[in-house]
């Protein structure tokens, strides 16, 4: 093709393109708006009237990397909503839950947060799972003055992460490191030894957790003999494991996350290291442990605020309800329980104050006491952090379901977390 022809053809096609050019973009975009505008969600009555529902937007990771946690996350809140509605709802109004999948992708979190607030007109948001997704939702929630109830165990609050943390609109229902690992440092070091090898995924939560644990350990006279951070998505742990087996650690303290913790546990087992070291993790709840299988998880110590196997009346009822609604194989974990607490406490607060306006919700939740499936909980007024129980468990040999997965070794009824590193006051202390 000679250059002459090429440019001729170029010109022809681009000319004809330009004619239809903008019209097409215009039509396509208008059409796209039409579609997007009519997407999902309810265009129901907003506010007013005692028979209009209270709307809650639930943002769960139902697909993508954190999917394994998404189901319990969503179910916890749905169950709470169901119970609330069966008990006269909130000030006589039913709760209506809109669930959106965040796809474990921050772009999607931003978009869905915008959608549930501005299109579905929700009164509050419950959920997001990772700190990253909470931080993505926060600017939108702050702009639109919508409360955010966050259920996941996380690294704690720091003013520099505002508006993700230290935000008067956010309430944290999951434990921070001083509530998860903190309470058990003494017991674990006295029973198993005080040399720690810390291995975690390479991001903030493990790093902050390790920092807290290290200072706690050192004040107990212990020593950190190794500290490693592994990129997310690693499947081969050969060299860290070699280093661990060459160290004189007593306890391997794990904050690996997602599927990495599963691969690590399997390779740890592959080398027989469970016979030489105690493996203590603050990340492997029911579903991650399920992924590891009985062989690789046996004997692992785990600590959280909630476990499926907690034996008290409230939890037995709770777990039974979960099974009735979702099947006999269904399991619950700390995040699901936190979402459940969030729902119940929200209703309690709103009923007490008499409204679901943002200021009412904040005022109602601050300082609120409640009994969750794990025991008594209280929303600390100053920094919106829930005071929670803490449990230490060990994985049983040859477990086969969520009921016989963990053995509860010890519990503390209430663990007050370290004060958050925020500029106070936040909340109604204005």
């Amino acid at each position: 093709m000679s250059r002459q022809r090429v440019s001729e053809l170029n010109e022809e096609s681009t000319k004809s393109v330009s004619r239809r050019n903008y019209l097409q973009i215009g039509v396509a975009t208008a059409g796209a708006f039409g579609l997007a505008g009519c997407s999902g969600g309810s265009s129901g009555v907003s506010g007013g009237g005692s028979d209009s529902p209270v709307k809650v937007g639930v943002l769960s990771p139902l697909s993508g990397a954190w999917t394994v946690y998404g189901r319990a996350h969503k179910r916890g809140f749905e169950l709470a909503a169901q119970e609330i509605n069966a008990n006269d709802g909130i000030n006589g109004r039913n709760i209506e839950v809109t669930v959106e999948d965040t796809k474990t992708d921050p772009k999607t979190v931003t978009e869905k947060t915008q959608k549930v607030i501005r299109q579905d007109n929700v009164d509050i948001i419950a959920g997001t799972f990772s700190s990253a997704s909470r931080n993505a939702a926060a600017p939108v929630a702050t702009q639109e003055d919508t409360p955010l109830l966050y259920p996941t165990f996380y690294e704690g609050q720091d003013q520099e992460n505002f508006p993700g943390t230290c935000n008067d609109l956010s309430f944290m229902f999951g434990p921070v490191p001083s509530q998860q690992a903190g309470p058990w440092m003494e017991r674990m070091t006295s029973e198993h030894g005080n040399k720690f090898y810390m291995i975690g995924s390479d991001y903030v939560w493990p790093q902050v957790t390790n920092r807290r644990v290290k200072s706690s350990l050192e004040s107990l006279g212990g020593e950190v003999v190794g500290e490693e951070y592994i990129p997310l998505g690693t499947s081969d742990f050969g060299s860290p494991l070699s280093r661990i087996s060459n160290s004189d650690a007593d306890i391997v303290f794990g904050t690996l996350t997602g599927t990495d913790t599963i691969a690590f546990a399997k390779q740890f087992y592959n080398r027989g290291l469970q016979n030489e070291y105690t493996y203590w993790t603050v990340d492997d709840e029911e579903f991650a442990t399920d992924g590891k299988g009985p062989q690789a998880s046996e004997g692992t110590y785990v600590s959280f605020d909630y476990f499926h196997t907690i034996e008290n009346e409230m939890n037995s009822t709770f777990v039974q309800k979960v099974k009735d609604k979702y099947g006999s194989d269904a399991g619950m974990n700390t995040v699901g329980a936190a979402m459940y607490n969030a729902g119940k406490m929200f209703a309690k607060a709103a009923n007490r104050i008499g409204g679901v306006a943002t200021d009412d919700v904040i005022e109602g939740l601050e300082g609120l006491s409640h009994t969750g499936p794990q025991g008594p909980v209280k929303m600390r007024k100053k920094d919106h952090q829930l005071v929670l129980p803490s449990y230490l468990v060990r994985v049983n040999e040859g477990w086969s379901n969520f009921e016989n997965m963990f053995e509860i070794l010890d519990s503390k009824e209430s663990v007050t977390p370290q004060m958050s590193n925020c500029d106070f006051p936040i909340g109604t202390g204005q």
């Binding site: 681009t14 997007a36 772009k107």
Partner: protein, 313 residues
């Protein structure tokens, strides 16, 4: 022209939420155009456009982090981002194109670039904010001394995003219709012959790649201040592969196809993911395969071909 007027009038009737969505789509459209110019006209497929998009986003975040500055931080970012991303792309292009790297290898390398950058952003948390990301305030449109309007109103941002996309489109349109563009197309059609005619094909490809990188960088910078949150997945492999799908579905050989494809696929995703979450990806995958096998000019190309006699490229 009619279409452009429609676009400019839309925010008057649409809600702020729709304006936000549209602004988002336009920025993705610009990202799509950045791939379209390289792929459709240069024949070079990059599986790493998100690396530049994300880098642009981080530059915006860093710019705000350095405040207070005498100049509007967003303006600084919007100047630095295209330079930085364009330069990165250019350097990479110099290294790779001059060694005659095969097209398919280029795909893998750009893919790896996205993967590495995402991992780096997660671990170097002091610089990149790590996994938990960085908060970015909404930018302000300002003329120093005169006024400063923070773009909190999504309808206003809609116009900024629309202008950015149209601007990028116009730039690429000009490039494509210039002598440079013709040679780029010639390289796409038959590189060896173009080279034998005396053209430094590697240099042309590098320039195209640099242009592509800077457009993606601008899109990313604006996206950062629109969504107000920057985190590693913006540079990652998933977004990079998504862009390829947008452009392929829309029509890779047409700039318009790249833009429209990006807008359409994202709009469909917004709608369908609320309704049929997982099946949606399967459908998209199948649609993608069909488009690749049978509809090389994508949906836009198909429409143009059906309703228009002229226009063969």
């Amino acid at each position: 022209m009619v279409g452009t007027i429609i676009l400019f009038l839309l925010p008057l009737v649409a809600s702020p939420y729709l304006s936000f969505l549209a602004a988002q789509y336009y920025l993705f459209g610009l990202l799509g155009i950045s791939l379209g110019i390289m792929w459709g006209y240069g024949g070079i497929l990059s599986f790493g456009q998100a690396a530049f998009f994300g880098l642009g986003a981080y530059i915006m975040a860093w710019s705000f982090g350095l405040s207070p500055l005498p100049i509007n931080p967003a303006y600084i970012a919007l100047m630095i981002a295209p330079l930085a991303t364009g330069l990165t792309a250019g350097l990479l292009g110099l290294v790779l194109f001059y060694s005659d790297v095969k097209d398919v290898y280029f795909v893998i390398i750009t893919l790896a670039l996205s993967v590495i950058l995402e991992q780096l952003a997660v671990s170097a948390s002091d610089i990149f904010g790590g996994f938990n990301g960085i908060y970015v305030p909404r930018m302000a449109l300002s003329i120093p001394g005169l006024f400063s309007i923070k773009l909190i109103n999504d309808r206003l941002f809609y116009y900024v995003a629309l202008l950015a996309m149209l601007g990028g489109y116009v730039v690429c349109y000009r490039v494509v219709n210039s002598p440079f563009g013709e040679r780029l197309i010639a390289i796409r059609e038959n590189e060896r012959r173009t080279k034998s005619l005396g053209y430094d094909t590697a240099w042309y490809k590098t320039q195209a790649f640099a242009l592509s990188g800077s457009l993606a960088g601008i899109a990313g910078a604006l996206y950062a201040t629109l969504s107000q949150f920057v985190s590693p997945p913006l540079t990652g492999f998933v977004l990079s592969t998504e862009v390829v799908i947008w452009v392929a579905v829309g029509g890779r050989t047409l700039l318009l196809g790249a833009a429209v494809g990006s807008i359409l696929v994202n709009a469909a995703s917004t709608v369908l993911s609320s309704v049929i979450a997982s099946q949606y990806i399967m459908i998209l995958g199948i649609l993608f395969i069909i488009v690749v096998v049978a509809f090389r000019r994508g949906i836009v190309g198909y429409i143009i071909d059906r309703y228009d006699i002229k226009g063969k490229l």
